[in-house]
């Protein structure tokens, strides 16, 4: 096995040789990358794109059709909080299921980014979100625990009422690339510099032809179970809390000042 001996002298260890080989490979890789795009990637400063999303699971009990291994039918999804199309932003989502599933790594390469399965157990699903190429960003990972059964055991299962667990969050792109920014800044799913004040969920009265491939989730089958998110309630409660705290602070400050006066020893 001929060794490419690199370096000052023979006594170089295997690790160092391979480290230097990796160095050279990384260098050439970067070189190619540079030559492909413009060098360097131009980004838009002081701009933040936020994409409000909702993600979670909806699970239906299969009732009479249930058997030991398939008692529930569930769907895990990532959708825009206003049900817009996330395709222009997300290139694919890789759902990692429990290893007991066949092919537990499921890749969804087009919107709507969701996956339906049937099973019997609850487990943690990890969703790795890959962004479109021109965003030039690393992947993002989300975790969600699949719930099949209701909170209180006593509630009887019904095939009509699913167990819905959905969370709201926002994908925030700081200093996006110029290409990405110019492409998505006008999309309804995207908000520039700050989250939308009111998350207006518009209904699906669109002029789309009968092609099934719609990226948005406006007329989704499970749409009735999607959560509606409004920030006003939480915002007002937090702001109210802040005012309370500020009042308390002012009170304490005045107390302190008066105490300080008391403690000053008078001059002899």
């Amino acid at each position: 096995m001929p060794q490419t001996v690199v370096g000052k002298r023979f006594g170089i260890e295997q690790t160092e040789v391979s480290a230097i080989q990796r160095l050279q490979r990384a260098k050439t890789a970067r070189l190619l990358e540079d030559q492909e795009k413009k060098n360097p990637i131009k980004r838009v400063k002081n701009v933040e794109l936020s994409v409000p999303i909702a993600y979670g699971t909806i699970s239906f009990w299969l009732g009479k059709k249930a058997d030991d291994l398939h008692s529930h039918k569930w769907t895990v999804y990532i959708r825009s909080a206003t049900n817009e199309d996330l395709g222009p932003i997300i290139s694919k989502v890789v759902f990692q299921l429990h290893p007991s599933f066949n092919n537990p790594t499921r890749v969804v390469e087009s919107a709507p980014f969701e996956l339906s399965e049937s099973g019997w157990g609850e487990f943690e699903i990890s969703m790795t979100v890959f962004f479109q190429k021109d965003a030039a960003e690393k992947t993002l990972e989300l975790f969600h625990h699949l719930k099949l059964y209701h909170e209180d055991d006593n509630a009887p299962q019904s095939t009509k009422k699913p167990v819905v667990v959905e969370s709201y969050d926002e994908l925030v792109f700081q200093e996006p690339t110029e290409a990405f920014y110019s492409r998505v800044k006008n999309l309804p799913a995207v908000h520039v510099n700050g989250s939308p004040g009111e998350l207006n969920v518009s209904s699906g009265a669109l002029e789309i032809s009968n092609e099934r491939k719609r990226g948005d989730t406006k007329d989704h089958q499970l749409g009735q179970w999607f959560g509606k998110y409004s920030e006003t309630d939480e915002l007002t409660s937090i702001m109210g809390a802040r005012q309370q705290v500020q009042k308390e602070i002012a009170k304490l400050k005045s107390m302190l000042d008066s105490e300080a006066m008391k403690l000053k020893p008078s001059a002899p």
């Binding site: 970067r30 990358e33 060098n39 709201y168 304490l252």
Partner: protein, 416 residues
């Protein structure tokens, strides 16, 4: 206990007496001499857990004796008859081969005929005599090439011997096999001996092991630098951070790369990233509270939850909500600190009030403070008296302790 023994004093209590008698050096008759020394090992006292109960052992049903008997060893070829002690159970002598005979393993060294030699094994550097000698030594010494090399008649290196042996064996195997596939798994065929590689490897290893300390240090440094460079490179490829001004000109110079890598790792590339707002808020809260103690963090959370009715993590993390939440946390931290300060002050005030009725009020007559030091010394002494019972604030103990107090302190120390 020994002292009491020597003095002949009673050991104390009827129970104590009994216990003392048993572990004395005189031992019950049943145990033989050996266990007396063993007893001494354990400190003269019986062990906490009885290990072997001699009564029980002797009560076993079998009759065991030991006999000096001759035995047969299948590993021997010379027919030497040796004897050893054998454990005989109920007059039944155990049978079977000598227990260690199974470890007499040897390597299966191939034997070739002259014909095979002439056909496949002819070599310029090796005579038939040498090859025969090599193979017989391999069998004799179980393929211990170092020993073989020591005794080989025209001296040859270990690598040469190995090379000859393995290549010859491989040639023989291949020639004897009907098809190449059936022996493809044979280790001699699969992992052939590579003479050049082995010599090189041994030489490099020798160099490495014989390096001086200085050389070792240099090597470690170079390795560390290489590691840093690769990591910097990989992270650059991932993040595509601001790139150094000369893109892609240097493919060769490691030194300039090291400099570039150093600068890129030190500059913070906080410029661009993508994250989820919810977890990001959590991180920001943590970094804000990193210098704060755990108890205060708990107090903040308690205030948020109980008194203000605000969730610890907002349900809908929008930009304004996250911002407000962070500010709220900051303010609650401020509040907690202020509360502490107020408590502290109140404690000080109340303490002052108790010890110094004249000091706390602002209308103190000046006379009370004339001869300031003396008065302070007196008050210091008085405070000192009660000091050890209260947590007095530091303010009042920064007057130097009066001499009588010092003397008293020293006196107290000597007593204990």
């Amino acid at each position: 206990m020994d002292a009491k023994d020597i003095l002949g004093l009673p050991k104390g209590g009827p129970v104590g007496d009994k216990r003392v008698r048993a572990p004395k050096e005189t031992v019950p008759k049943k145990l033989d001499r050996v266990s007396r020394e063993v007893y001494a090992l354990t400190g003269g006292l019986p062990p906490l857990i009885a290990s072997v109960d001699t009564k029980q052992r002797q009560a076993s049903s079998q009759k065991i004796s030991w006999q000096w008997l001759p035995f047969a060893n299948s590993a021997r070829t010379d027919g030497l008859q040796l004897s050893h002690w054998v454990r005989v159970v109920d007059s039944v002598v155990p049978t079977g081969d000598y227990a260690f005979a199974k470890y007499n393993r040897s390597v299966a060294v191939l034997k070739y005929t002259d014909d095979e030699y002439n056909k496949h094994l002819a070599d310029t550097k090796w005579t038939k005599h040498e090859t025969d000698l090599l193979f017989s030594m391999c069998e004799q010494f179980d393929l211990r090439f170092v020993i073989i090399a020591d005794r080989f008649s025209p001296p040859r290196t270990v690598e040469e011997l190995k090379d000859r042996y393995y290549s010859a064996s491989k040639a023989i195997i291949l020639s004897r096999a009907t098809t190449p596939e059936e022996v493809a798994d044979h280790p001699h065929v699969k992992d052939a001996y590579n003479f050049n590689y082995e010599t090189e490897r041994k030489r490099a290893l020798g160099l490495l092991l014989s390096q001086s300390r200085q050389q070792e240090r240099e090597d470690a440094e170079v390795l560390a630098e290489a590691k840093r460079i690769t990591e910097a490179r990989l992270s650059k490829v991932d993040e595509q951070a601001e790139q150094p001004s000369a893109p892609g000109t240097d493919l060769t110079q490691p030194s300039t790369d090291i400099a570039a890598a150093a600068t890129s790792t030190t500059t913070t590339t906080r410029g661009h990233r993508v994250f989820l707002r919810g977890p990001n808020l959590g991180q920001m809260v943590q970094s804000m509270l990193s210098s704060v103690g755990a108890r205060i963090v708990k107090r903040i959370e308690q205030i948020l939850l109980d008194e203000l009715g605000v969730r610890l993590e907002p349900k809908i993390p929008t930009e304004s909500i996250c911002r407000e939440h962070l500010e709220l946390r900051r303010e609650v931290l401020n509040l907690v600190n202020l509360q502490k300060a107020v408590q502290w002050n109140e404690a000080t005030v109340s303490f002052m009030r108790e010890t110094h009725p004249e000091v706390s009020t602002p209308n103190t007559p000046k006379r009370g403070f004339r001869g300031g030091d003396r008065a302070a010394a007196v008050s210091g002494e008085r405070i000192g008296k009660r000091d050890h019972k209260r947590k007095a604030p530091a303010r009042f103990s920064d007057t130097p302790p009066s001499p009588p107090q010092q003397k008293r302190a020293r006196k107290l120390k000597s007593e204990s």
